[in-house]
Amino acid sequence: MTMTPALAIDDLRKTYRNGHVALKGISLGVAQGDFFALLGPNGAGKTTAIGIVTSLVNKTAGTVKIFGHDIDTDLTAAKSCIGLVPQEFNFNQFEPVEEIIANQAGFYGIPRDEARQRTEKYLHRLGLWEKRRGMARELSGGMKRRLMIARALVHEPRLLILDEPTAGVDIEIRRSMWEFLREINAGGTTIILTTHYLEEAESLCRNVAIIDEGELIEHTSTRRLLNTLHMETFVLDIEQPLETLPDLPQHELRLVDECTLEVDINRGDPVNAVFSDLGARGINVLSMRNKANRLEQLFVNLLADTGSGGAGT
């Protein structure tokens, strides 16, 4: 019996009133217990997708299920499962830190005494206990981020969604936040994060999806994504039609059609071995061309967009 996914999105579309098409029909699933990254350049549609999942944005079409609860028919149950850490600070700057967290617990129906206990627990865990009585506006940027994480965790959600949680945070705080998120994930909470930092996704996440211009262009494991980034793909036109893929486990081969093969080769590795091994099976290569590596291109574009020149990768 397969486990219900933590998040299942099917053909999700969003067109804003001004006509901007933010999502063009994305479908993806996130398994329970996963640590999942949603990557993509600015304006790709990541925040819109998260907005729809957390019901802050109305979708145009498609379905979203959170632990099997459809947001169209079972929104209350779906919302109860989610904790959100948004990209922008969205708490009352004029409220004391502890009240912000305890109130959030209250919105989930947690009685005041228990809310106070949980507030204390998460303020301690995120190093904000000393600041509990201070106004939120008095916190530093990193502390405000941690405040939003504490607030998202106070009702102990099964799915924690973080929209660029470490943007603008220095490397030391970023790494301590990573450690904390690993602990939360190890405790069974499914985590989805969006990030610009490939390093962050590589360090934390087991699976990734990449969105660009409202379309899902990759949905794979982090390991495979990283392998792909270090590979070149060649398209081989072959002389004799093939019905099945030749049994050459030493090479990453795919049969595109009966006269076309694709092969992934690590950058710097010689390609001769592929020709030799195919020739030994009686398969003659008529021509070969390099297939553009769209993932790598995506990240080149991403870096160009941010103008970071490689920061964080």
Binding site: Y16, T48, G51, T54, S55, L56, V57, N58, L75, T76, A77, K79, S80, I82, L84, P86, E88, N90, F91, N92, Q93, F94, E99, I100, N103, Q104, G106, F107, Y108, G109, I110, P111, R112, R151, H155
Partner: protein, 257 residues
């Protein structure tokens, strides 16, 4: 959510709202006390002594219910419009929108906050009035029920204004250009029987007139309007505005993209 959880969520919103205006009491509770004290001194004492009786009561006594009601109307409206719009502007309304708290609980929470401030200011103004005139109570149930209905009605109106508002200018337009004129023309300072027939009929289109008159009945036992009409108008407006508020939250107008 279970009923108990909804009650907890409701209490959280109400407590948050009350603490909000209580923290800034110098901006929220003190100004109506000072303003109405000036009204009592200028209109009640100085000018009122020249006017004599109005509908058989001293002019000072006549204006007290209207001035209390004016504080209730403006403060219940101002509380919800500013609180809800600020929560939109700073985006902390999202704290509630991502949670499973039902829309009607959000509406009731904000309304209760508005009612709390409106009635607090009403009590404060009543306390100020005691310096100028003894408190007459003709019908406590009418007085209390009408002040409550009025506070609820204008809290709902404030919520709807806040949902549509896109800037801080938008939350001051309605109070300045609609609420204040209607309140002043709602019979705070005069009985509509003093007006020519035509303007009496025009005045009947002003819903605030019905509330002020019913409230005055609770104090003095005099009114220009039937009590049933006052209750009917108030309840009809509350039902309509509550329905609109729920619809706005359900569809996400002004708060969801």
């Amino acid at each position: 959510m279970t009923p108990q959880q909804k009650l907890t969520a409701y209490r959280t919103i109400v407590t948050k709202e009350i603490l909000r205006f209580a923290r800034i009491w110098i901006q929220t509770v003190l100004p109506p006390m000072i303003t109405t004290a000036l009204y009592f001194i200028i209109f009640g004492n100085l000018i009122g002594s020249q006017i004599g009786d109005m509908d058989g009561v001293r002019y000072m006594e006549f204006i007290i219910p209207g001035l209390i009601m004016m504080a209730v109307i403006t403060n219940s409206y101002a509380n919800v419009v500013s609180s809800f719009f600020s929560s939109k502007f700073q985006r902390h309304i999202e704290e509630m929108l991502v949670s499973p708290v039902p829309n009607y609980v959000i509406v009731l929470g904000f309304i209760s906050g508005g009612v709390a401030r409106g009635i607090t200011c009403g009590i404060a103004v009543t306390a100020v009035s005691l310096f100028f005139s003894p408190l007459n109570i003709h019908s406590l149930p009418v007085m209390l029920s009408m002040i409550l209905l009025t506070a609820v009605l204008f809290s709902l109106a404030g919520l709807i204004n806040a949902v549509f508002a896109k800037s801080f200018d938008d939350i001051s337009i309605v109070p300045t250009f609609v609420l204040t004129p209607l309140t002043y023309l709602g019979g705070i300072f005069y009985s509509i029987s003093m007006l020519p027939e035509f303007w009496q009929q025009v005045s009947l289109a002003n819903p605030i007139l019905y509330m002020i008159n019913a409230f005055r009945y609770g104090f003095l036992g005099i009114t220009d309007i039937s009590l049933w009409a006052s209750y009917g108008i108030s309840l009809a407006f509350i039902a309509a505005l509550y329905g609109i508020s729920l619809w706005l939250l359900r569809t996400g107008k002004g708060i969801r993209s």
